[in-house]
Symmetry: C2
DNA sequence: GCGAAAAAATTGGACAGACCAATTTGTCAG
DNA sequence: CTGACAAATTGGTCTGTCCAATTTTTTCGC
């Protein structure tokens, strides 16, 4: 049960400190020197522990400033595949439409109320701000949560991480979403109506429609030069992947 | 473009060495001292780099022996959520059925031939052996690959990691799969037929049927005591999750 | 020759102490 | 109150040394 290497036990201890709530996201952890003394290890070991936590995305190390607790939006280690905006949206269409259909069969009144509030937030908040994006995310996340399936929630969060953490995807998505705002709100409302009616088929169709329109906007935008670059890179990535998959 | 901290550039360099193919999975990397000299940094930095790679699951450090390249089955950092067998199967049903439908619209003859070979492998290999399991995995993976979407492939691999790396899931799945073998082969054949006919609807239905039967077997098995425990634990996990989600 | 036990070499793990660079904080002149 | 400068804090890195686990080589009995 006990870890072999010292840095792992220290990392575990630091993680406990974080998860106990003593250090909420954004706060600074004690300095390396202090932690080294507290755990009775050398500074090197403390830093190794912090580096491993940084690799896992749990903390952020700022030189000359300190080590800060990160908000674990979806706590997977990093290393997402380099998907294209098109691929991501297609997968979201597949997955989230089925989630919506499933959610329609088991969503509670409280959860529907939550979705209403989120849509309201979306109407007020400017489209391309952080708050507007967060409302968008919450809408989709709440539907996944309504399926009462942690695997679905996990994948939804991972999909969102792809949208926000993969650079070419991030760029294209923000460019596209900047345009249509009222559209999105209307489409979300359609989904909500289907959920309120507990109609799986309608929910599926509404969600598919939502992403179909996004896909269209994406394809339009992809005619621009910058996006063409990303697409080209995706092709060689795919070839590389297929080649390595054959070997495996 | 260049990383700020030294250990990150070194980690990047080591990763390049690995991905260039010079060090296939399982092989040993050069020793810390040699790498330190080669990159002209101290041993401390090399170890920090290797620790970060270890946290990301790319290498395995064995004390007194060396640093070994790990097989990146699905290269995410670790930290999968604790899903139950039921949740996993439900998500697979949702996701893989849609993948099959999409694959039916764009699968190539070569890929169909590959699927045939995989089913053949499944018939010969004993059900519960590693080889039989690998064939099962390959069947589902090849369908995801036929969608020509890296995000789909990534999620398929992640689903499979959940099946093999999450302990309660692993136990239950192996117990269930031990029983029906010819069933599975038949069901896979049905899916293949639909793909060969390029019929998305039939592919979707065949795959849903495949997982529906798995789901049934799972529910039967869940009446046993050990699985009841896992289910109980899943409920408190879910509650904990919901509570934390409200706070976020 | 062969095989097991012992010795030597290799490798990662950890420590101490020192110095550097980035950042933050405190202070003081204007 | 503000801006510039100095000091303190904090993470980053190096050198060198020693330890423990592991692997390789040697040795020696049979």
């Amino acid at each position: 049960m006990t870890e072999k290497r010292l840095y792992q036990t220290v990392a575990r201890s630091i993680l406990d400190m974080i998860e106990s709530g003593s250090y909420p996201p954004g706060t600074r952890l004690p300095g390396e020197r202090e932690l080294a003394e507290r755990f009775d290890v050398s500074r090197v070991v403390v830093r190794e522990a912090e580096i491993s936590l940084e690799a896992l995305g749990r903390v952020e190390i700022k030189v000359g400033s300190g080590v800060y607790v990160r908000d674990p939006v979806a706590m997977t280690g990093l290393a997402l595949p380099r998907v294209t905006p098109f691929e991501l949206t297609q997968t979201r269409l597949l997955f989230e439409s089925e989630c919506a259909a499933l959610a329609a069969t088991m969503i509670t009144d409280e959860q529907i109320a939550g979705l209403e509030a989120t849509i309201e937030r979306m109407k007020t908040a400017p489209h391309d701000t952080d708050d507007g994006e967060a409302a968008d995310r919450d809408f989709h996340l709440q539907i996944a949560q309504a399926t009462d399936n942690e695997a679905n929630v996990f994948f939804l969060k991972t999909l969102w991480r792809m949208r926000t953490e993969i650079d070419p995807v991030k760029r294209v998505y923000s460019a596209v979403c900047h345009a249509d705002t009222s559209h999105r709100v209307n489409e979300h409302s359609e989904v909500l109506e289907a959920l309120r009616a507990r109609d799986p088929g309608a929910a599926r169709i509404a969600m598919r429609g939502h992403f179909s329109r996004l896909l269209e906007a994406l394809l339009d935008a992809s005619e621009r030069q910058a996006i063409e670059d990303a697409r080209r890179r995706s092709i060689e990535n795919r070839e590389r992947f297929l080649k390595s998959a054959i070997g495996a």
